[in-house]
Symmetry: C2
Subunit: 389 residues, 2 copies
């Protein structure tokens, strides 16, 4: 965790934030708000102008005399690269400094082919999107991967979906080509961040995102930022056990983890055990639509078991909103109702008083947005702006 040091007071980065938020957009205002001396303001604004982060707009409001020069944030000064890797689909984008995508694509990339194959493929896509832009325009890179990540090193850990990626430190590989800071995080963390920034940041600071897909994971936003914990491993909700799981052996070696009972894999397994011929979630959805009561019961049970661990997480974290996403949630609306029912019954009164439980607003778009924000938060932070690039 980075703590802001006292020596970083009113730096160029701070001045940039004032300009971006519109809190102070003239040199005089910046001096007034920060208490910086006139030469100090000139120096800091000069640095920002030189780096293209800020542009001068001479058409200020006329006050009779010479209008003060207004400064504005230049989101086109550079770009960030974003990639959200999934077991089945991978999204790749180039975004401006406000997080708006300038180019984006979704590809079916077999991540099992390993980093030696997949990372060059993604980098080639970025290079294609950059076109004639020089590499020096790339200010940062954000990547989400379906694995636990030791955040500080950007190293993937305990990977179940992508076995060939275990222990790989991704940042050095990407830095070699793009020469910019690289941030790699768990896919659910970046989805939680994207969902929070785009849909909830104006109203609340504490969000729990639970992704239910081939596996179950969570991303926690606490006080407006990603809760990463000591090594970046926070949010591992999938291997919390449930009470009435029936003794299912989880791939992690433990018994009755919610991942082994409410994931897509588990739901399909349970349907097959009941003689249903299903090979995908779409098959299961078709059975629900056809009114198959037993399929419905399997889905509802998965929702109740998921609700149990979400209730535990709500007790521990007291989020303002729980957002449920992933293809299992997209497929089965009743799952959300089941989770809601259990959480409101099982969590403490204060934790649920104003708790909302919602489906993802952004859906699959959350991950790539979160990757861009993760890079931008660093690139535009006071500390980073103050380091000459």
């Amino acid at each position: 965790m980075t703590r802001r040091t006292a020596s970083a007071l009113a730096t160029s980065g701070d001045v940039l934030r004032l300009i971006r938020t519109g809190e102070a957009v003239t040199r005089a205002d910046i001096g007034r708000v920060t208490g910086l001396s006139r030469p100090a303001v000139t120096l800091r604004v000069g640095e920002l102008l030189e780096r293209g982060l800020v542009v001068e707009d001479t058409e200020g409001p006329s006050t009779g005399g010479r209008p003060p020069v207004r400064l504005s944030f230049n989101a086109s000064a550079g770009v960030v690269l974003a990639a959200s890797l999934g077991a089945s689909r991978t999204q790749v984008a180039v975004c401006d400094l406000s997080g708006e995508p300038l180019a984006g694509t979704e590809e079916e990339i077999d991540v099992e082919k390993g980093p030696d194959v997949v990372l060059p493929m993604i980098m080639d896509i970025w290079s294609g999107m950059l076109g004639d832009r020089p590499v020096s325009d790339v200010w940062g890179v954000g990547m989400g991967v379906p694995a636990t990540v030791e955040f500080a090193a950007g190293r993937t850990e305990s990977v179940r979906v992508m076995a060939s990626w275990t222990g790989v430190a991704i940042p050095p590989v990407i830095r070699e080509r793009f020469n910019a800071p690289v941030f790699v995080d768990n896919d659910v963390n970046v989805i939680a961040m994207g969902e929070h920034r785009r849909a909830y940041a104006d109203e609340l600071d504490d969000l729990l995102f639970v992704k239910v897909s081939t596996r179950i994971g969570a991303g926690v936003i606490a006080g407006g930022g990603i809760l990463r914990g000591a090594l970046g491993a926070a949010g591992e909700i999938g291997h919390i056990p449930v009470r009435d799981g029936g003794g299912v052996l989880c791939r992690c070696g433990n018994i009755d983890c919610v991942d082994s009972l409410a994931s897509a894999t588990a739901i399909l397994r349970d349907l097959r055990a009941k003689g249903r011929d299903v090979s995908s979630l779409a098959d299961a959805v078709a059975l629900v639509r056809a009114g198959d009561a037993e399929t419905m019961a399997v889905v509802r049970r998965a929702g109740r078991l998921l609700g149990e661990v979400v209730a535990s997480a709500v007790n521990l974290l007291n989020p303002a909103v729980v957002v449920l996403g992933g293809d299992v949630v997209e497929a089965f609306q009743p799952l959300v109702s089941a989770v809601r029912e259990v959480v409101y019954r099982r969590s403490t009164a204060l934790a649920t008083r104003s708790l909302r439980i919602e489906r993802s607003v952004l859906g699959p778009a959350a991950g790539i947005a979160g990757c861009a924000y993760m890079a931008l938060d660093h690139v535009l932070s006071a500390d980073a702006v103050d380091i000459a690039r």
Copy 2:
């Protein structure tokens, strides 16, 4: 959650922090470090001198010419009042601005008598400790209560131990006599804060404190600060269910909450069910000392069940250290071993890679220390220092 606004850059509070930490202790250094103009530095230091927060020390190192005036933090400028309420014992203290107790006492106060009786008793103790000091010397008040607290309002909620306190907003009552900002938090949150600041703050930022006593609760330090969640209800680990509880009805109405299976109450109940004549933890400790295998088994089972929910919390939060405290932990060393065993087995590999599981270092002293730090963090924060008192 309070976010630092850009308009609070390099304020008096920031200057105070530079002086407290020793990062800049002369006016010239402050100007250099912050970029503040000379008049701005003079203004801010003047404010701090006037309020007694900073004193001038003219005996700087001789450099031939007139030595620069050195500034130092004056921890005697004011006091904070601290009180840690427990079901059985209540600690009350007056501390200086560095958190050192100037006076302290531990009283047996029956909190069940309700706030109308208990709060005046505590305030009278503070008044006695203050002696001739004027009330204006009191800069802040920190209080921990054995209840869930809606932090923003300092209002107690869903109180099980202290039924007569439910829905009471404590701060207005105390402000009426002491006219200072009042912070009330859950007892386990303040214990976690005290333990972290005194024993771990130098080396790690992420700590999970679990208190096992009449009830089971947790306080979470994430990124160096208390994780409170949306309403201040975070850390309710006691009502997370365990897998093999055997169907015990918890006082919250749910089944197999760890609180109903591993708390002091639960351990004594289970021992009585096995025909042991126990009315206190001391009785149970005597049985363990006498080599009673069945008592030992009850304690070990409580530890394993506690370990299950701690493992879930470790998966979600990825703390660097889990600290176990409370009288049950003080009584039974084997409980800690049992928790350790289960957590290392059940939590994910990355979450446990460098995880430490320790007994409380401070013991009962952590709560009152945490209360003082909670008040001081506010009183000495940039925002608070900048508001004229």
